[in-house]
């Protein structure tokens, strides 16, 4: 246990020593501050701590929609743009050199010559690297949690789901980095392969999602023949999609876990309805929510974890058998 704690403390020290860690934390703080600056009064909402007032008939202090809107900014803008996009890229760049540095001659001997099994060293180092994302998202989400209480008056612990989910998304990609690191000892190759897998995941999610949309939702109901034709294509795409990590859907799973107005699940339709008012017909975005929920959480996270587990197992196997 002492060895595990030592390795984790070392990981924390290593992350603290990275400039990108502080840059990311600084940007997170800034984004959090901007989020916190959004408030509501009797005539509508305000930006930058009341500097810019925006009149709105529905979004007012104490209105039911205010909470939905406030959470929506977090789940629909901040999470997909900042946390699971830019912060992850910065995280990958920041942590991609951890294993190559650790495996350098003259450095690795210090750890492997100790009475700790190599597998334990490897796994602890791996988990320690995930601290980057955990600390970043953890601090940010706690800020959001407090902001919700301050701005809309509710304690909503369900937003904290974003912490494990974001760390999960990061870990899928970090597993790719580590496997490539262990095989090639190259930092750059690790980042490039992780970005490639991420891109493939994005493309596969797009293809599988769209095939589902036209094969199974109202979007394709006008052409039943086409729907029937697309179904086998969908099944094929889903099979391929199963073996790669589902980064976007894991993030979107957060929407399902968040509780708004006592109801589980954040509705894109409701949120978009607030923003665009009467511009969107009632029920017009039901399909969007349906597509987001097309795969079970067990499938999305389970299959992604299997992917991650397989990669980590191969990397661990190489690490444990290698002569350094």
């Amino acid at each position: 246990m002492t060895a595990i704690v030592t390795l984790l403390i070392d990981s924390y020290r290593l992350l603290k020593a990275r400039v990108l860690f502080w840059i990311t934390l600084g940007i997170s703080g800034l984004v959090g501050l901007v989020y916190l600056s959004i408030g509501f009064n009797d005539s509508g909402m305000t930006l930058f701590f009341g500097l810019i007032p925006l009149e709105h008939s529905e979004l007012r202090r104490g209105s039911e929609l205010a909470e939905l809107f406030y959470i929506g900014i977090f789940t629909k803008f901040i999470v997909p743009l900042w946390i699971t996009w830019i912060a992850i890229i910065l995280g990958l760049i920041s942590t991609a050199s951890i294993f190559p540095d650790f495996m350098t001659e003259g450095s690795i001997e210090l750890s492997l010559s100790k009475p700790v099994h190599r597998l334990k060293v490897f796994l602890t180092k791996y988990v320690g690297s995930l601290l980057f994302m955990f600390i970043q998202v953890g601090l940010f989400t706690v800020l959001v949690f407090l902001a919700l209480r301050w701005r809309v008056g509710t304690w909503n612990p369900s937003v904290l789901w974003m912490v494990p989910l974001s760390v999960l998304v990061f870990s899928y990609l970090y597993a790719v980095v580590v496997l490539v690191n262990v095989m090639t000892r190259s930092t750059l190759a690790g980042i490039l392969f992780a970005l490639l897998i991420w891109f493939m995941s994005f493309v596969m999610n797009f293809v599988e999602g769209n095939l589902y949309t036209y094969a199974f939702t109202d979007a394709g109901k006008d052409d039943p023949e086409m729907q029937e034709m697309l179904k086998p294509w969908y099944r094929g795409s889903r099979l391929a999609y199963t073996v790669i990590p589902k980064t976007k859907q894991t993030t979107e799973f957060g929407d399902r876990m968040i509780k708004v107005k006592g109801k589980q699940g954040f509705s894109t339709e409701d949120f978009t309805g607030i923003i665009f008012g009467g511009m969107i017909q009632e029920g017009g975005l039901e399909g969007v929510d349906q597509v987001m929920r097309r795969n079970s959480g067990f499938y999305v996270i389970g299959s992604s974890l299997l992917f991650e587990g397989a990669l980590v197992a191969i990397a661990a196997g190489i690490f444990c058998r290698r002569d350094f």
């Binding site: 403390i9 020290r13 690795i108 210090l110 492997l112 099994h117």
Partner: protein, 308 residues
């Protein structure tokens, strides 16, 4: 008699690509000794130490280390190791490096703290302990490396090129530390190419060449076996006298006569001859072969044997 700390037989290592780094090493290291492993670059010295510290997996290895088979992880609790060209993370301070080593050895931080202080003082790094390692000179890194190797109070200490990059004063201090360790009953296994350093502390040595032990034994015995007597005369030795001396098995150079052998009897006929020819003898002294000479001779012999 106490069993040896290291008792190795048939240690072989073949790397991928069929490079044979070790070709059946057999070694015995007695408890409480300073053991020096010598060899030219690429002889397999570091490979052997890495096998013993589980950094490298042997192709074959029989024998024991501290009474357990080589590779037995819990035994590593009782050993210390300073690798060659040790690289400590630049983001850690010297103190944190030693604490890290203690933690991995399973020593809780509360227990490690006084030991860390004591060791940093011992290696002369107490005043620099809070500074980041990236600001250290090579010699300072070696000192911290020595401290981290000692943090678990090891019975067996592996030092791979411990004086690399260390200034003369630091080398002397490291020698003193090694002496102290020995007097405390620890066994020190030193890999080095600084033969003069090793000669001052080692009890036993082994010379590796191309993955094989070509000489091994007690340092005094090995150098004594090649003992010489050196006779220095007042004036240059003439050709005629030199030829007569050569007939009696001696070699000459300017005013010096060298006679091989540990027994003083061998030198008596040479003294008689010199005196009979009127040479004035200034000094006669037994001269041991230096470790460097022993090393060069052993390596050269090994090379000659391998030549087609």
């Amino acid at each position: 008699m106490e069993p040896p700390v290291l008792d190795l037989r048939h240690v072989r290592k073949i790397y991928k690509g069929r490079v044979e780094a070790l070709r059946g090493i057999a070694l015995e290291v007695p408890k409480g000794s300073v053991f020096g492993l010598l060899g030219p670059n690429g002889a397999g010295k570091s490979t052997l130490v890495k096998i013993l510290t589980t950094v490298i997996r042997p192709t074959k290895c029989e024998g024991t280390m501290l009474g357990h088979p080589v590779g037995h992880k819990p035994t590593l609790r009782r050993i210390g190791y300073l690798p060659e060209n040790a690289r400590f993370p630049g983001y850690l301070s010297g103190r944190q490096v030693v604490e890290y080593s203690a933690g991995l050895a399973g020593i809780p931080s509360r227990r490690a703290r006084p030991r860390v202080d004591e060791l940093l003082e011992l290696v002369g790094m107490k005043d620099w302990a809070q500074r980041k390692v990236r600001t250290y000179s090579k010699g300072m890194k070696q000192r911290v490396g020595l401290a981290q190797a000692l943090v678990n109070d090891p019975e067996l200490l592996f030092l791979d090129e411990p004086t690399d990059g260390v200034d003369p004063e630091g080398r002397r201090e490291i020698r003193i530390i090694i002496d102290e360790m020995r007097s405390e009953g620890r066994t020190i296994f030193v890999n080095t190419h600084l033969l003069s350093e090793l000669e001052q502390v080692a009890d036993r040595v082994a010379i590796l060449s191309k993955g094989e032990v070509v000489r091994a034994g007690d340092l005094m015995e090995l150098t004594k076996a090649r003992q010489e007597f050196e006779i220095v005369v007042a004036s240059e030795i003439g050709e005629e006298l030199a030829a007569a001396l050569r007939e009696k098995g001696a070699t000459t150079e300017a005013r010096t006569v060298l006679s091989r052998g540990a027994n003083p009897e061998v030198v008596q006929p040479l003294i008689d001859l010199l005196r009979a020819r009127g040479a004035i003898i200034q000094s006669i002294q037994p001269k041991r072969m230096s470790l460097e000479e022993l090393f060069l001779e052993a390596v050269e012999e090994a090379r000659a044997e391998n030549r087609p």
